[in-house]
């Protein structure tokens, strides 16, 4: 076994040295995949870590009990009173070791740039609380006798305000005492409404200005924070809202709040992860195409190696080692890129609490590395085994495998009177169906993502043209920024997929040009022009692109139908845009494929003809 490994390692090292371009190409595509995955995972991790730090610093809740009733809706008094009793029972429930509240919430409005925002003022007695003591980042906390407000950090950031400034609430100015961070709410403006903390005295003034009670909140810490889900499960059935009222009451664990607290980062990270997975899938086809191409090119070398006693296992092992080494390097670079870029992406978040500190757990590193190795394994094993399965004699004797039977499609094309180069191209297109299908699969994802990006663009454009709803001025703008980020990622992913698809197409076309070099030389020897051979090679590769367009457009529309609705306005992609995609993708593809085709056509005929 050790001897086998040594032989395989030597072969792998020599192959990488002899064909550094191919190894670099695989490294590039794998690194894009691992980098995107690493970035997605570390961005996701950085938000959780920041939340955890704030949660610890503020003695954050384990379970929260929230009661809300629309301020202008009457007839909720009975429900509210019953919920107050429930809150008292919860505070005394077994397992609860500390309680914060219940704190009454007033509903009103605050002026922000561009309009007004809904506002919740949480009424607190001055002093320190055992649960959810907001972490003051500027100014001070509520004190007796102060007639002012403490702003939630996200609100302060949106307003560009700090302690000492004033804010306008219900049309009246209120001095800002301080700015504080909490985990009991998501950060404004993506989490609405805006929040301030006030003393009971200030709350009285706000009531006089027309603010009304909209509910209350009770926060609890348990003996063991891990018990929060069980605690909620055991008490939740008792807190069903009255079906005749829009008033609601709900229990929430700290884990649920954390998961909901940085929705923008989650969406961005999720989009990056999906992009990474799609790119990884596409990289499988890159690896498969490279290995298959190399095996067909080196089939004679494999024959020689077998003839001198190298076993098929050693040859496959050499390929796995070679590409495994590439996967290892790609994982290291990808994780490095992820950790390096994550702070910049996380910094664009408006929900993250404090400074993001990207991190990757060992499990996440293993996931990224596992994906890279899986890509290599799936891409390598089949073509490698196919290559070494050939008999030694046939490996030594022959070049690329000739076709076994003429294709029906090309017969129809011939009967239909298509030009000779097109018929020749169609005849060659099914010569390597595996490559055609893997290439088509990659391009299909690319086309689908372009369609999604187009739909997203239309939908977001529609969103931007909407007049901001009263009370949503700042949050609508923040949502717009978030969607712009997502659109950029989706568009970037689409471009990456199409670029990788084009790289795959280039590799496939290069190998196809090499496989078909003798046939093309023969065609030129009997009167085919270089241009005709270029057309023939392009047509032979266009099948993958046609499949990608035919499958990718409906796939993209299907994906979009799953995404639209909710916060995104429903919109379709115009027929014209789809037609442009259907026309442009094959044109770009043909341009890429024409490069190796032209290179082949520029070579003199005689050296390409077989002399055996």
């Amino acid at each position: 076994m050790i001897r086998s490994l040594r032989v395989a390692a030597r072969l792998a090292a020599r192959n990488i040295r002899r064909r550094p371009g191919q190894a670099l190409l695989l490294l590039l595509t794998l690194t894009i995949a691992t980098g995107t995955l690493g970035l997605g995972l570390s961005v996701y991790g950085s938000a959780d870590a920041a939340w955890d730090r704030a949660w610890t610093a503020t003695d954050g809740f384990h379970v929260s009990f929230d009661v809300y009733h629309p301020p202008d809706e009457r007839g909720n008094d009975h429900f509210v009173r019953s919920m107050e009793r429930r809150a008292a029972e919860l505070a005394d429930a077994p397992g609860v070791v500390a309680v914060g509240g219940p704190w009454t919430h007033l509903y009103g409005s605050i002026d922000v740039a561009g309009g007004r925002e809904d506002l919740t003022a949480e009424i607190r007695e001055p002093g320190r609380y055992a649960v959810d003591q907001p972490l003051v980042t500027s100014g001070g906390w509520l004190r007796s006798g102060d007639d002012g407000v403490v702003l939630e950090g996200g609100l302060a950031a949106t307003l560009g305000a700090e302690a000492g400034d004033t804010v306008t609430i219900q049309g009246e100015p209120f001095p800002i005492i301080g700015v504080a961070t909490t985990v009991s709410r998501g950060r404004f403006p993506l989490a609405r409404p805006a929040q301030v903390w006030v003393t009971p005295a200030t709350a009285e003034r706000m009531r006089d200005l027309g603010m009304t009670v909209e509910g209350f909140e009770l926060q609890m810490r348990l003996r063991d924070p891990a018990d929060a889900p069980a605690f909620v499960a055991s008490h939740r059935p008792a807190f069903r809202a009255d079906p005749n009222s829009s008033a609601i009451a709900f229990l929430e664990t700290w884990q649920e709040r954390r998961a909901d607290s940085h929705s923008d980062i989650d969406i961005v990270a999720g989009t990056l992860l999906i992009a990474g997975i799609l790119i990884a899938i596409l990289t499988i086809s890159t690896a498969a195409v490279l290995v298959a191409g190399r095996m067909s090119a080196r089939i004679r070398q494999v024959g020689t190696l077998k003839a001198v006693g190298t076993t098929p296992r050693q040859i496959v092992l050499a390929l796995l080692l070679e590409y495994g080494a590439v996967a290892l390097v790609a994982t290291a670079i990808g994780i490095g890129i992820g950790l390096l870029l994550a702070p910049a992406i996380a910094d664009t978040s408006v929900t993250i609490l404090g400074t993001p500190q990207p991190r990757l757990t060992s499990t996440q590193v293993a996931i990224v590395g596992g994906v890279a190795f899986l890509v290599v394994l799936i891409g390598t094993v089949r073509p490698a085994f196919r290559g070494v399965r050939r008999s030694t004699l046939s490996s030594l004797a022959s070049g690329a495998r000739p076709p076994r039977r003429p294709g029906r499609l090309s017969r129809w094309a011939s009967d239909a009177g298509l030009p000779v180069p097109a018929v020749l191209g169609l005849r060659s297109s099914w010569r390597r169906p595996g490559r055609l299908i893997t290439n088509a699969a990659g391009l299909t994802f690319g086309v689908a993502m372009i369609v999604v990006a187009l739909a997203l663009r239309d939908s977001l454009d529609l969103l931007n043209t909407r007049i901001a709803e009263p009370g949503h001025a700042a949050s609508d703008a923040a949502v717009g920024v978030l969607y712009d980020q997502i659109r950029a990622i989706v568009l970037g992913t689409a471009l990456l997929l199409v670029t990788l698809g084009s790289i795959n197409a280039f590799i496939v076309a290069s190998f196809a040009a090499r496989d078909g070099a003798r046939s093309h030389a023969a065609i030129r020897a009997v009167g085919g022009t270089p241009r005709q051979t270029v057309i023939s090679l392009i047509v032979s590769q266009l099948g993958a692109c046609a499949l990608a367009v035919v499958l990718g457009i409906p796939l993209g529309l299907g994906l979009w139908s799953l995404m639209e609705g909710g916060d995104l306005p429903e919109t379709g992609v115009s027929l014209l845009a789809l037609l442009v995609v259907a026309a442009l993708v094959p044109i770009v593809f043909a341009g890429v494929v024409s490069v190796p085709a032209r290179r082949l056509a520029s070579r003199p005929v005689a050296p390409l003809l077989t002399y055996e």
Binding site: P402, T529, T610
Partner: protein
């Protein structure tokens, strides 16, 4: 005198690792209409390169080349391709049929490239395959044909546009004795039909079917023999040439 092809002072040099190799060294060749010419010589003497230069498959470094009285040595690749489909038929040792095309599609290919209708091209191709006794294999891909069948298909392909000149490079090099016999008969028929023919060969039996024999050594033509009626036998020809490595 009505030369179909006329080469003057052709030179072709290849770059090699140690020193440049002159494959064709100031060669003059004239082939008259209806004449069959053989070129013989030891391996590596430049026979195939000369044939490639005459057919435009490679470009000469120096010299003049005329086909049917027109200068062709300065034609572009595309112009050469059009000229080949109209005026030159090639037969190769390794057949060089297009793998993806059936036997009959290979034969009709030059006709289609020249602009013939599919019906006309198919009819002519089938007649040629019948004449060459390989019509029953018309629908098969080259991979399914024997060496002799492939070469007969290749000859049919070379003939379909009734070219001015047929260039054949070791046409029996990959064939067994029976198939070689068939091809010899075929070339004799072509000569008798006054098809202009230039054959590069190692095989004295093939060479003996020609009207004239050129001998090459080290890239140059070193001898010329006219083979009149009552041709010498292959063994006598081999002795005459003193090649040593004839088949």
């Amino acid at each position: 005198m009505n030369p179909v092809i006329e080469a003057k002072d052709l030179v072709k040099t290849y770059d090699a690792d140690e020193a440049p190799v002159r494959a064709v060294d100031h060669v003059d060749v004239v082939v008259e209409a209806g004449e069959a010419v053989s070129v013989m010589g030891p391996s590596g003497c430049g026979k195939s390169t000369l044939l490639h230069l005459l057919g435009g498959l490679e470009r000469a470094d120096a010299g003049e080349l005329s086909l049917g009285g027109d200068r062709v040595d300065r034609l572009s690749e595309t112009e050469w391709a059009i000229l080949r489909r109209r005026s030159i038929g090639f037969v190769f040792q390794a057949f060089n049929l297009v793998d993806e095309l059936t036997a009959i599609e290979n034969v009709e290919l030059p006709a289609l490239l020249l602009g013939a209708s599919r019906r006309d091209a198919r009819g002519r191709a089938m007649r040629l395959l019948e004449r060459l006794r390989v019509s029953e294999r018309a629908g098969h891909l080259p991979d399914r044909l024997s060496g002799g069948e492939r070469q007969r298909v290749a000859v049919a392909r070379a003939l379909i546009n009734e070219p001015l000149l047929i260039l054949a490079d070791e046409p029996t090099g990959n064939l067994d004795s029976k198939a070689t016999g068939d091809i010899l008969g075929l070339f004799a028929e072509l000569r008798d039909a006054r098809q202009t023919l230039l054959v590069v060969t190692h095989d004295a039996r093939v060479a003996s079917t020609a009207d004239r024999l050129l001998t090459m050594r080290d890239g140059a033509i070193v001898g010329q023999t006219r083979l009149e009626a009552g041709r010498p036998t292959a063994s006598a020809l081999a002795g005459l040439l003193d090649l040593g490595d004839t088949a």
